[in-house]
Assembly symmetry: C2
Homo-oligomer: 341 residues x 2
């Protein structure tokens, strides 16, 4: 089974938004299967906004990629060979692989056997994968959401935000408001159980619109967007409010010297606010329990997942570029790389 695979690597670090020229499809030899490793054939992989922060140098929780390195992503894979006793050929696993048709991956890395087949496989790199876990631990560990609180979620039609808002509602939040770009996304938010969806593109003053949607303000802000969105919400945060810094997709393509900041920090004192950055891999040991609880919410229909599908490994760059460009389609970007059979 040792041999070649097709994969997508970084061709040239982008300045500003990524383009097709950022990436290159190549054939490459697979490394030998060292002790403790597994070889998987990719069924699905993902396009993740967080990858943007690895394409150029700068502050990130992960080191920047070098030109010629594979773009990492989450994968659903079928185990073909295993040199780790915890995995066997035929197992279906979710793993932190990359954009490749085959992956050799350490069994001690971010890899887990799919525990049941009651939900679509792709969910294990979406609503039950890192995006869903980010929503879960952002609300529970970081925001310490309490019954009856008011929650504001930004990028609310994205995989993290949509899941966060629905979980908050299922956990007893009194009000859940989502911010998204475009009327179609906002209509979907309301269909998914958000109390209101606010289209930031049509607001003259976002703070006023957020206030109208929740006149008593917000106890929790779950932010996936960046500085401008946090700053707009700061005046509305209730006393003791918590801000989860989960992602900054609006700022990833902005050079540091052009970033706007948070002028409204005076509300940190006035309202005793707390703000904390979240990297969900810190919670990885607790994923199985959270997946069981969140999976139950999905099975009973309390949490819905949206996907946008792309066909073939070569579509992965497009799926990624669309994250920053395509205003119409929304949901978890899933690339169908191979069939299960």
């Amino acid at each position: 089974m040792q041999g070649m695979t097709r994969r997508i690597v970084l061709a040239a670090p982008p300045v500003g938004a990524p383009t097709e020229a950022t990436f290159r499809l190549e054939e490459a030899p697979l490394p030998p299967l060292a002790d403790g490793y597994v070889l998987t054939r990719t069924l699905f992989c993902s396009a993740d906004p967080g990858t943007r922060s690895r394409l150029s140098a700068g502050a990130s929780y992960a080191r920047p990629l070098k030109s010629g390195e594979m773009i990492d992503s989450f994968c659903i894979g079928a185990v073909l060979e295993s040199a780790d006793p915890r995995f066997s050929p035929g197992d279906i696993v979710a793993l932190g692989g990359g954009w490749a048709e085959h992956v050799v991956f350490p069994g001690r890395g971010y890899i887990q056997k799919i525990p049941h087949r009651r939900l679509p496989l792709s969910y294990w790199i979406g609503v039950l994968g890192v995006p869903g876990m980010t929503a879960w631990f952002g609300l529970t560990r970081v925001a310490r959401l309490k019954d009856g609180e008011r929650v504001l979620v930004t990028s609310a039609a994205g995989p993290v935000g949509a899941t966060a808002g629905q979980i908050a509602k299922a956990m007893g939040a009194a009000k859940v408001v989502g911010v998204a770009g475009g009327g179609e996304k906002c209509a979907w938010l309301e269909a998914a159980g958000f109390d209101a969806g606010i289209d930031y593109k049509v607001q003259a003053n976002l703070t006023d619109a957020l206030k109208a949607a929740s006149p008593d303000g917000y106890d929790v802000l779950f932010d996936n967007v960046g500085n401008a969105m946090i700053d707009a919400a700061l005046p509305l945060m209730r006393r003791g409010g918590r801000i989860v810094v989960s992602g900054q997709v609006a700022d990833y393509n902005t050079p540091p010297e052009l970033l706007s900041g948070l002028p409204n920090t005076r509300y940190f004192i006035a309202s005793r606010l707390q703000m904390e950055g979240l990297v969900v891999f810190d919670d990885v040991a607790a994923f199985p329990e959270a997946q069981a609880q969140l999976g139950a919410l999905i099975e009973k229909g309390a949490v819905k997942a949206r996907e946008v599908r792309y066909r073939g490994l070569e579509s992965a760059p497009r799926a990624f570029i669309d994250l920053f460009e395509d205003a119409a389609a929304f949901g978890r970007r899933i690339i169908e790389v191979g069939d299960e059979s």
Copy 2:
């Protein structure tokens, strides 16, 4: 004892920095001593930077003052009459009074009997009053300082910062670095036990200077200055670092639309940072225990307090304006209003 007193009131809300014209000295009748109130004769009062946020409308933890209202401040007072059974004539109390020679104050308000006379009376509105308690609870409750951590304190020669740095050192911090303006302040910091005092006025790049003083970065930032200082420190915060937003003296005189922000918020995710605003009145029930512990540190010389004295009630506006103007003198601004005898 019912009668008149002299007091200082808000004459006109300032735009930008306060001036003498911001204030007015007047004679005013004292209210009758209602049930539950005490009448005190002021021995000392204070000039507090936090008062700036009450002179103009805007986000604050307290409502803005109206023209004609007394400027509030902390006072050491001798009780002359009491209609609260917990206080008796002759008691010496610290209270949240104002710039006045006599104050009628509710016994259920922020008022406490001075528990011992082993330290100067004025310390109870300084290093053992709200500035010292802000330092104490900022380090303990908000920052949760642990043994061996690295601490950065800004406005470090001010009453809050100087106390915070010395407490941190006494609590076992591995390194305590202070930022202040001017060589005299920095020399005092090092004499007071700070590992380094950094004069921000002579640094081409403050972040570089902060890094040189602690190449391994900082676990705790205790900030009394505002956005620019926090932003300079964000790249240096260690994983899991805590930022205490204790005061924003550099920003109090800046109109909101001209405030700079925190472009470096990406470090919140990269370094899992936490930032929290502090209003020490939330901790008032725990003051006596903290004052006992901090008082013991002062008595054994581990924490030193600096004061700048002003003579007479009429000097209070000058003491306050100097907070924002006078670069040479530093320490708690104490106005000597009356003698104890």
